[in-house]
């Protein structure tokens, strides 16, 4: 990858260590993805906010790195470990470490978004803009649904892009490389958001490329698009899907048996002790659907709804929060299912969720068993 003379100077430390480190990261990523050069970006979204994900090494790294850095573009950040307004079940030690990370990020000028769905809570750059998004569901959603151009960035590459305002011109930032050369033909009746999550997870595991065409699939609403994007982003290389492109190259089928074996990979319990909605965090359309399905009923197990604070505030003003809280469900803002300290082996053996991504992390990071069911069947089975 070619750097300009100015970029070379910055790499060599002309403006301090943080900028120099950022250019080191961008240079490595540029080499890795065969980029020709760096291009300006319009928006960055950083992951690696929850203390449970980056740990003490990450916390210390940010403490030092953020001393002489400032973001150059609009920058949003991922969920943290807990709800800032509801810390009763969180240890003082965790709160202290988490807030240290939050303060580091705030000091470089990020928005205190704490969301994995920034595309629902913030004003977006215009279609065709280069962006740099680390949260995997957001990268897939932005490429596929919004016409923004991003690679599936890492926590560190998005941070580097935020403070330099630049990203490598490679892979999904190049129009020709966005055209899929792999196709999945689905014969499954996509009867719930869970089907979309399973298709996404299957695609991410099977397709070794950055872009895929999904044929025989329609997206009726944002809930399906989010479930699909999150499923795709959970594992593998895929950073983009398109629907019903002309099929060429490798073609793979997805039907009942593929859906069943994908679910078997992630489903490790028959029932759950705690109900979790929201990986990705729920937006207004999903809250509305859930309110409709739960009207006049009560959850028989503890139920947590994860959503961005901005979304919660909007839902509060229309009465939607009150309607959902009458079912016994509790809202959790600023955080999400993935690696949450809220749900551990101490308070549950198993959870139930409609999120494929949430199921993956509950199984593999929180080490809990998971019953994976669609929203409709959860509200049927776990309510009176």
């Amino acid at each position: 990858m070619d750097l300009t003379r100015r970029e070379e100077q910055l790499l060599n430390g002309a403006e301090g260590d943080a900028i120099s480190s950022a250019y080191r990261i961008l240079s490595a990523v540029g080499e890795a993805t065969s980029a020709s050069k760096l291009v300006p970006i319009e928006w960055a979204h950083i992951s690696g906010v929850n203390y449970n994900t980056i740990g003490e090494a990450g916390r210390r790294f940010l403490e030092e790195f953020c001393l002489d850095a400032k973001v150059q573009v609009k920058t949003t950040i991922n969920p943290m470990g807990f709800d800032r307004d509801n810390t009763s079940s969180i240890s003082q030690d965790f709160i202290h470490k988490q807030m240290s990370i939050v303060n580091s990020y705030k000091s470089i000028g990020v928005k205190d978004s704490f969301t994995c769905t920034p595309y629902e809570a913030y004003h977006l750059p215009k279609t065709g803009s280069f962006v740099s998004l680390a949260e995997t569901n957001a990268a897939v959603f932005a490429n596929s649904m919004l016409g923004l151009l991003t690679n599936k960035e890492s926590a560190l590459s998005a941070l580097a892009s935020a403070i330099t305002g630049k990203a490598p011109l490679s892979e999904l930032r190049i129009n020709e490389l966005r055209t899929p050369k792999h196709t999945i033909i689905s014969s499954l009746e996509m009867d719930s958001e869970l089907s979309y999550g399973l298709l996404g997870y299957f695609a991410g595991k099977e397709i070794k490329a950055s872009s895929v065409s999904l044929n025989g699939v329609q997206i009726r609403g944002i809930r399906e698009a989010k479930a699909l994007s999150a499923g795709i982003g959970t594992m593998g290389d895929l950073g983009m899907f398109s629907l019903n492109s002309e099929s060429k190259g490798e073609v793979i089928s997805f039907g009942k048996s593929e859906a069943r074996s994908t679910r078997d990979d992630l489903n490790s319990a028959e029932r759950g002790d705690i109900i979790l909605f929201g990986s990705p965090q729920l937006g207004l359309p999903e809250l509305n659907l859930l309110a409709k399905d739960t009207e006049g009923k009560k959850f028989t197990k503890p139920c947590f709804i994860f959503c961005a604070r901005q979304i919660h505030n909007q839902a509060k003003s229309t009465g939607l929060v009150d309607r959902l809280e009458r079912t016994g469900a509790k809202f959790m803002c600023d955080c999400c299912i993935c690696l949450t300290p809220l749900v551990t082996k101490q308070n549950a053996d198993s959870v139930v969720t409609n999120s494929v991504k949430g199921a993956y992390y509950m199984n593999n990071a929180n080490k809990l068993n998971v019953a994976l069911q669609d929203s409709k069947s959860i509200t049927k089975e776990y309510m009176t």
Binding site: E31, S47, E153, S154, S157, D237
Partner: protein, 136 residues
């Protein structure tokens, strides 16, 4: 034996290879305090990457994996060098860049060499050359 490779992060290191054909999710599959693979379904389960040359296809999964590479380095549990045999992915590249771990990519790796754990490798990322110093 000398093999050409592509530099992703410069530097030079010598170590014994630990080899897998399965991708790694650095967030969920590895204990960054010890470098041990903690994911039961991974073929390297129970083995440690600490001090070795990690030869693997690519990283998958969480974007936060990059921080886990850095955390291994901070705990002196990181590999001394990394060789990607399928794809030099963004997670590994950014994690190695910030941790000063030499990283290279080899095209058609297994067609060129039968990489197996225990080979002693010299990874000269800066000059884009791998030398097999000792067979198993």
């Amino acid at each position: 034996m000398r093999i050409k490779c592509q530099k992703i992060v410069g530097g030079h290191a010598i170590g014994d290879a630990i080899v897998t054909r399965q991708p790694i999710n650095f967030l969920t599959m590895i204990d960054s305090a010890t470098g041990k693979i903690s994911y039961q379904n991974h073929e390297l389960f129970g083995k440690s990457v600490k001090g070795s040359v990690l030869v693997f296809p690519k990283a998958v999964g969480s974007s936060v994996g990059a921080y886990r590479i850095y955390a291994m380095k901070a705990a002196s549990a990181a590999p001394v060098a990394v060789v990607c045999t399928e794809q030099a992915d963004i997670i590994t590249a950014s994690g190695c860049a910030i941790s000063n771990i030499p990283m290279v990519k080899i095209a058609n790796a297994f067609a060129q060499v039968s990489f197996e754990s225990g080979l002693r490798l010299s990874i000269d990322a800066t000059n884009e050359e791998i030398v097999i110093m000792r067979n198993k």
